[in-house]
């Protein structure tokens, strides 16, 4: 039986690995690193699943999951940075001129800004978790990353239900990013 990658399952795995409900002490370092990575992938898959649903609302799950393989992490980050760049956050690249107005509207949503900031924070943490021997992973900080991922997913749902035009705009740019940046 095929089972999809479900963001909620990844968050549960992250909680378990990071010892959310354990007593005192800290889990194994490798477990904390995998938890940080799972927290990132939960948010990544939530975003990509939603973009695929936005693009192919009537498609089967299998077709959407196939489509989801075409997304590049770098492009999702670029769109998130365009939101952060439009807010003046250091180092985050501003959007291309032709879509700047749309991003300035998106930045008025603090929920969307929190989603973008979570994606940027978690992608960097995942990179460190997987490659950086010198990175320090502790239980409280890893749990905080998981909290940030869960919060971003919750806020994304809120934006979808409370501000549909804002949500549609975000989804469209995530889908269009490679074309717009060329």
């Amino acid at each position: 039986m095929q089972r999809a990658i479900r963001p909620q399952w990844l968050l549960r795995q992250a909680d378990e690995l990071a010892g959310r409900f354990a007593g005192v002490g800290q889990p194994r370092n490798a477990d904390l690193r995998r938890a940080a990575s799972a927290a990132y992938y939960a948010l990544y898959h939530e975003l990509v699943n939603r973009v695929c649903e936005h693009l192919q609302p009537d498609a089967t799950d299998a077709k959407r999951w196939t489509l989801s393989r075409l997304f590049a992490h770098r492009n999702v980050l670029a769109v998130c940075e365009w939101i952060l760049g439009a807010t003046g956050i250091p180092g985050a690249k501003g959007p291309p001129a032709r879509v700047r107005a749309a991003f300035q509207r998106m930045r008025t949503s603090t929920r969307l800004v929190d989603v973008a900031l979570a994606f940027q924070t978690l992608q960097q943490a995942r990179h460190e978790a997987d490659y950086d021997h010198l990175a320090d992973f502790t239980r409280p900080a890893t749990l905080s990353l998981i909290d940030q991922s869960r919060d971003a997913i919750r806020k994304l749902r809120l934006v979808a239900s409370v501000s549909p035009p804002m949500y549609q705009r975000f989804m469209t740019h995530l889908a269009m990013c490679p074309a717009v940046s060329r």
Binding site: G19, R20, V24, G25, Q26, P27, R28, N29, A30, D31, L32, R74, L77, G88, I89, P90, G91, A92, D114, L117, T121, Q123, Q124, R126, H127, E128, D136, T138, R139, P140, A141, L143, S144, D147, Q148, D151
Partner: protein, 109 residues
């Protein structure tokens, strides 16, 4: 294209600001800065913040306060004219041993 150097006065001012401020229940005991490459291989400013330990019986800090800290630091960095990416790393004041620390010390693995 060359990368602009990170102005050390602005970084010092940012660190001092961070250590003077509380973010809800979250207090920064110590702030350190380093320049390194980020996941995109760009020069970035990494802020390593040692926070007062989470409250008794809590495994981590309240997210609301952590988000206030993350947003506040980035806004201050922007106000100080920093243009490099800024990443905030959090650490507790007290670090409990991890499950395989003892094994790693004994076997050197």
């Amino acid at each position: 294209m060359g990368e602009a150097p990170v102005p050390s006065e602005a970084v010092d001012e940012l660190l001092a600001w961070i250590e003077r401020h509380g973010f809800g229940s979250v207090w920064v005991e110590h702030a350190l800065a380093s320049i390194d490459r980020d996941a995109e291989d760009e020069a970035a400013l990494f802020l390593s913040l040692t926070l007062r330990d989470p409250g008794k019986g809590k495994a981590t800090w309240p997210l609301r306060d952590v988000l206030a800290l993350r947003r506040g630091v980035l806004e201050k960095a922007s106000e100080l004219g920093l243009t490099t990416p800024v990443y905030v790393r959090l650490n507790p004041t007290t670090e409990a041993p991890q499950d395989d620390d003892e094994t790693a010390t004994q076997t050197g693995t």
